[in-house]
Symmetry: C2
Subunit: 346 residues, 2 copies
């Protein structure tokens, strides 16, 4: 079937309306009528060519929420009419040790990205800035009734990217968690860490968003541009989630960790970090990284967010506003996520 | 009491015979007649002034084994005639959260180093290149009968420095552990990891010590100077212990870790490491550091080594050979630890 979409035709070009082909619904597939697609910074990096050559035209979008329109004959997990979501992956080998452990995002044979990826049948994947998508049922998540669909879309990337390390590194009652950066990822980290019962501190460049941070669930808010912050908070966190994709002084931030504390990076700046061994050794500290989460864990995250009434803070836009939205994301002028209403593509 | 010792009188000066004062045995103290003192690379860094100004004259030595000569009235843990050891610490506050957790090495009020440290009574500590030492009983370890005393001395630093991260990061049956560097620390890491039941690989600059490595318990041995090593072993370790104090390519070594793997640094080169975030994020990997171990854990390590018949590979020297030994350590010409027979000081 041919469906409407917004695509970049070449690196750095604005997105324009187009049509793309979606594959026939196979026995294990689900056809989803997309309702909302979040705008992730990764979308912009990809279409701008920041991450290398891409198979243009590229339809971005890996924060997808919609309704099941058709299911293949072997699909039992989802039914027509179900509200569902698709995140950053639409396939993996399912045979390697990582897939078998539920870590499809680290598939040893390469997970298939939701857009600009090469699926296991050799076709190029196209993302959620579109009216419909066909996805293997195993990579389709259930969006619980309690979640508002537009606000749920960013959970599929920003939500799981922060939920996974918070859960893995034990955020919860009695744990002191800091979130570096209050953007699309950071604001989700604050909400989720707060819901997990942790004591949450935002470490932001300035105090500009302090009121927001406290409203979203932070207990404390400090500016990292103030050198006193690093002195005052030395040794005081069990876990720091760094959501900033630009360069930060990792060694200085490691000094904010207590013994056995962990600083987990979820952004991936191109330039390497400079890390002093003594900052790690002096407190048995760890500097770690984490990338989205597995499918089962993503479902767990959606259920957790429904239970705790957590959605993303969003600004809903029409599809023809996406280029303007990209400019505003690059200028950090969004609180905190743009979501495309894909009915405007119909 | 005045006792014989070897001391450096100033930074970079050779060690020379001298006498130093040991404090009276207090009610909680133990007077130890030292038998053996290991020569640690830290001793050389300290007396050379590599780690900043020192309270010269400095008597180095924090790998001490001896026999209890006198105990204070309140001491119950040790008796006259017991074989005992002293490692890198001789005091800490015992009140902070880290001390209460058995992590005296991370004492928030500052642990007291065995030499060149300022004890809680204001005096400067002097180390094990001496005939006797007076130490608070809480910082005196029991050396089990099964351990040969000279070979046990290096366990007090090199042993615990490698045992602690191996234990904490789960070295054991089914775990693939790599040890970077086969020196004083590395050879202990190989023996201990092997005794814990892990599959052990040595990653050394060259294959020069391969025969030794395999004899000490390694299952595999690779040269890091061969670029094929990094391709061949990509993603194949659960834990890497880096014992090299000089610069290594951390990002390349992180690529050798499987998902959730950890690279733990026990050396502390002055220059920072360059770490690519993607090397961490792409496999939820961690880069961590670890410094010696707590007192209870050090006792656990000594008991483990006695049970498994593990000692250091040593070359016993007389005290007047120590300057020559320092030169050989700096030239990596020791397999694998010099130990001073302190009876040569009497």
């Amino acid at each position: 079937m041919r469906v409407n979409a917004y695509a970049a035709s070449a690196a750095g070009q604005p997105l324009t309306p187009t049509t793309i082909e979606r594959r026939d619904v196979g026995p294990r597939d689900v056809l989803i009528q997309i309702q909302y697609a979040g705008v992730c910074h990764s979308d912009i990096h990809t279409v701008n060519g920041d991450w290398g050559q891409q198979p243009f035209p590229v339809v971005p979008g890996h924060e997808i929420v919609g309704v099941v329109a058709v299911v293949g004959g072997e699909v039992t997990r989802h039914q027509v009419g179900d509200r569902v979501g698709v995140g950053c992956m639409v396939n993996s080998c399912r045979e390697c040790v990582n897939c078998l452990n539920g870590d499809e995002q680290y598939c040893l044979n390469g997970m298939v990205g939701t857009y600009a990826g090469t699926d296991r049948d050799g076709t190029t994947t196209q993302g959620g800035y579109s009216t419909h998508v066909v996805v293997d049922a195993d990579f389709v998540l259930t969006v619980p009734d309690g979640l508002e669909p537009a606000a749920a879309a960013p959970l599929l990337c920003a939500g799981i990217t922060t939920y996974s390390p918070l859960r893995r590194w034990g955020a919860g009652p009695g744990k002191r968690v800091a979130v570096v950066g209050l953007g699309g990822l950071g604001h989700m980290a604050v909400k989720i860490a707060h819901a997990m019962g942790a004591e949450v501190t935002v470490l932001s460049q300035s105090l500009k968003k302090q009121e927001d941070g406290l409203r979203l669930g932070a207990d404390h808010y400090y500016a990292t541009s103030d050198p006193d912050t690093f002195e005052h908070l030395a040794g005081s966190f069990d876990l720091i989630i760094n959501t900033v994709s630009a360069h930060i002084d990792i060694t200085a931030h490691l000094g904010l960790l207590a013994v056995d504390g962990a600083l987990v990076n979820v952004g991936a700046p191109a330039e390497p970090f400079s890390v002093h061994a003594m900052a790690l050794i002096g407190g048995r500290r760890t500097f770690a990284g984490s990338m989205i989460g597995g499918i089962a864990e993503t479902q767990e995250m959606l259920d957790f967010c429904a239970e705790h009434g957590i959605g993303s803070e969003i600004e809903v836009i029409a599809a023809d506003q996406v280029n303007e939205a990209y400019e505003r994301v690059l200028a950090s002028d969004v609180r905190y996520r743009f979501v495309i209403d894909t009915s405007t593509l119909a």
